[in-house]
Point group: C2
Chain length 320, copies 2
């Protein structure tokens, strides 16, 4: 895929991966609709394979490689869900996967990657260390680098979650997705343009990692420097490919603080009885902080993942 994914390319991507991914449910909750004063549709990518939407992009990128690329394997660096996603996508295609991970990644995510048979190469938790280590791996193995989001095949894969929403829920006023590196947000904005052009797309971002908000506002990419948020999936910064798509197709990016994210996460756990990670709950926190804006509206939220350490839940750290 040589440019911004077209409508046909997204349709093809969906065809390519649809027997490999779960078609995740779109759930509703009368209780949450009452609490938040709008009609909410939750796309449960927490129930996707590897527990995150990332499997869509990873599957599409692996299944798009040619035979000679496949023999050399795939490689990436990731703080978590993309790593597990690429590892599983590679395993399913019988391809070797090399994953560069920061030593500080949550143990649940390390275990998942190992469980899928990938080779983990640990590095220091900085973007520079990740990139250097990855370059060494690629030089040694010839593996194809699958960037977590600066990759059109990945973006096309991520776009399919929103496409599935539009296949069952018409006339949405808003689609809200978390934004970290922008793969999900950019892909979702493309699907919206092609399949539900009347819907506005909003990126939801933690205040403590608001580089996408600032980048969008100032029309230039700011790096994510020392992000401070519980949302471990949203620490990365936008990249060239995602930034361009987001700039053209997203209405706005809204930030919320961690205490609001944790409260929204707990509301989802308690009322919907489903497990989502903080990075997913940022979407509902945006609704909660902007009730007037969303009053009476129809909004879909992509619950991007459900990988949390059950021994270390965020509310156990809060003052009570």
């Amino acid at each position: 895929m040589s440019g911004i994914p077209s409508k046909d390319e997204i349709i093809s991507a969906h065809e390519r991966i649809k027997n490999h991914i779960h078609r995740t449910p779109v759930l509703t909750s009368k209780q949450l609709n009452e609490i938040y004063g709008c009609s909410l549709y939750f796309k449960c990518e927490n129930m996707q394979k590897v527990g995150a939407f990332k499997f869509r992009g990873a599957a599409n990128s692996v299944l798009s490689l040619d035979d000679s690329e496949l023999t050399k394997g795939v490689a990436t660096h990731s703080s978590g869900n993309h790593a597990a996603a690429l590892a599983l996508a590679a395993k399913s295609a019988n391809v070797k996967a090399y994953i560069v991970m920061p030593r500080t990644a949550p143990s649940i995510k390390k275990k998942a990657v190992e469980g899928y048979g990938a080779e983990i190469i640990y590095c220091e938790p900085t973007l520079q260390a990740r990139e250097e280590t990855l370059n060494e791996v690629i030089a040694e193995t010839g593996a194809a680098f699958i960037h977590p989001y600066n990759n059109y095949a990945v973006i096309a894969g991520q776009s399919t979650a929103a496409k599935e929403i539009y296949e069952v829920i018409p006339d949405l006023d808003y689609l809200i997705t978390p934004v970290g590196g922008g793969g999900l947000l950019s892909g979702s904005s493309l699907s919206t343009k092609y399949f539900s052009p009347g819907t506005k797309v909003i990126g939801a971002e933690p205040e403590g990692a608001d580089d996408a908000y600032r980048s969008f506002r100032d029309a230039k990419i700011y790096p994510s420097i020392n992000p401070d948020t519980i949302c471990d999936g949203l620490l990365t910064s936008l990249c060239e490919k995602t930034f361009e798509i987001i700039t053209r197709n997203v209405s706005e990016i809204i930030t919320v603080d961690d205490s609001n994210i944790i409260a929204a996460m707990r509301n989802i756990w308690e009322r919907m009885k489903i497990i989502v990670e903080p990075s997913a709950a940022v979407t509902l926190a945006v609704i909660g902080n902007n009730k007037e804006k969303f009053a009476g509206k129809k909004a879909a939220l992509i619950l991007s993942g459900g990988n949390v350490d059950l021994d270390n839940l965020p509310w156990s750290k809060l003052e009570r």
Copy 2:
């Protein structure tokens, strides 16, 4: 309803409540199928209103009352989910509800009952105290007593969860439900007899509260004396009505210990990304402890509820 619910009475009960209850999803998990070596179908009553199947029976019993009964209200004693269920069912019908609860009930369940506008009357945590307090309330108010399970309208309501399973999953070898007082198990066994007679029904019970196991084995009702289990929904004993139905229609009752239940619960949380209470996970623990019996079989499990105290999860108490 004057006797054991007939097929037509169960169909009528389902018609009566179907616009009031959630038709909960039946979920599957490839990961859990691999781990347990069989095909599992999870009926998600944790996503039912009030977070438990109990709403089905409560709704059917309230909606079956005549006008003069409705003016006086309803009353019950319950350690939790039935209380919330009756409170909400009464509220929806604009009827007064009086709930006798042990002081020791989990705070999440007390709050839910209060939130539905019911009047709570606290008592000591013994069956005797509950019954005495309830009798006082009924004498004062004339409210109709809705027993949590020794009531055919309640049993008919609970039977509809299994009926919904059979409407979408044919040829099940087994249906497994938790057993406490036996409302869900007896109702499920009736639906099985009427709608899927080739399916065997198994009751799943914690070892520390194995009165139903012993009652079934010895063909006489044993009271539940000093039960010791994490399954706070399964502390009660069988009663005349549930025992008779269970004796006739259930294949067996299998017990499992709390450590297996907690492990099964955690497997459900981690792999399926849904929240279930220990009393629901006892069903999967039965599969895990009897892998040979269930190998290659098709089994539906009723995940009976999802009301847990998120500040006090069972694995935080285990040695690691």
